[in-house]
Amino acid sequence: MYSSLVRLQNTFGFFTTVAFAVALLISASDFLSVREPTVNVLKTTQLQVVKGRADYYSSKKEEYAIIKFTLDADLSSLFTWNTKQVFAYVTVEWPSAQSNNATNQAVIWDTIITAPSSDHLGNFSPSKLKRLRKSANGKGIDPSRGKLQIKNQRLKYPLTHPTGKLAQTEDMQLKLHYNVQPWVGFLSWNQNQDWGRWKALKNGLSKKFTLPAIKAKEQAKKKTTGGARA
């Protein structure tokens, strides 16, 4: 009954119970913090469709879009003591031409915003890590990193469609999303409705736009060298 083995077992059992209880409390504390992310500007600044190889690895020639956009958003309220990183991403969405139920959605740009305490886990270059460390100034939580101000950003991933057609696509819209990654607990995304203290992301959609027709061939060739590897 009172062998050292039983004691060890009890200690370990108690330790895991306490650890899980603390983890549960920490993850529950997320719901107490106020989240009110805002978007000031989200608009396209350049639209173009070219035909060629969208990616270094792609084997077939297809239509792909070149989009540049400007974003001004404030996600700083997402950074709390349980925030490990915020993954912010911009998608382009458009309804499918064939059926009314189907939609198309693709990420064109994303960024990983680490909390200062998780900087060392990221795959950053030494210079960027140094810059991040300096900006945090020893703080564990740095909400100012949640302020995104991006001008004329080129897309990070080539935008193509399985059909190979993209020119003159209508009703396209950019949308800002985010995913909050906790240190422990539940992952959360941007919401369309308010949920307790978590407010919906307003103005997260750009105006609807239509992609132009394909550019002439010579120009397209010039563009591929610049736009292929973003």
């Binding site: 009954m1 993954f87 998608t91 422990v184 607990g185 539940f186």
Partner: protein, 179 residues
Amino acid sequence: MLSALGNPRQAAAQLMNFGLILSTAFMMWKGLSVISDSPSPIVVVLSGSMEPAFQRGDLLLLWNRNLFTETSVGEVVVYNVKDKDIPIVHRVISKFGTGFVLLRRRPTAKLLTKGDNNDSDDTKLYAPGQNYLVREDIIGSVVGYMPFVGYVTIMLSEHPWMKTVMLGIMGLVVVLQRE
């Protein structure tokens, strides 16, 4: 020490106890599997392709039901590729077509995934000739996260002698324990 072996009643009780522990663990696993509709509701991260969000050894809780929404862009999903036994944890970066199931028709949306820490998308990880995933390839979306806990399983699978040692200790405990 060997008194347990001399007393068949006690030995049987201990055996039952051990069986009970094992079956409880199994039932909890399968119960979680039924609730989340995922063959593997808890997975351990094995690679660093989602860093800094997930490190090796972190535990992920999966959910595989589409109650209100379709599996969509931005979700972190665990998927299987044909002829590969190790499931991959990556983020969905594009979705083309409909993913909604109507009257037993399978969702046909084409999904493309990418690891946050990787430079390019997963096309090269898929089976030859496969350019997209479909909903069926996915065994769950990540909803919960717990750091470090899964590292035990990585240690056990990378150092097989640990498995032997652990089984040995567990066996000894069962034999020696008196209650």
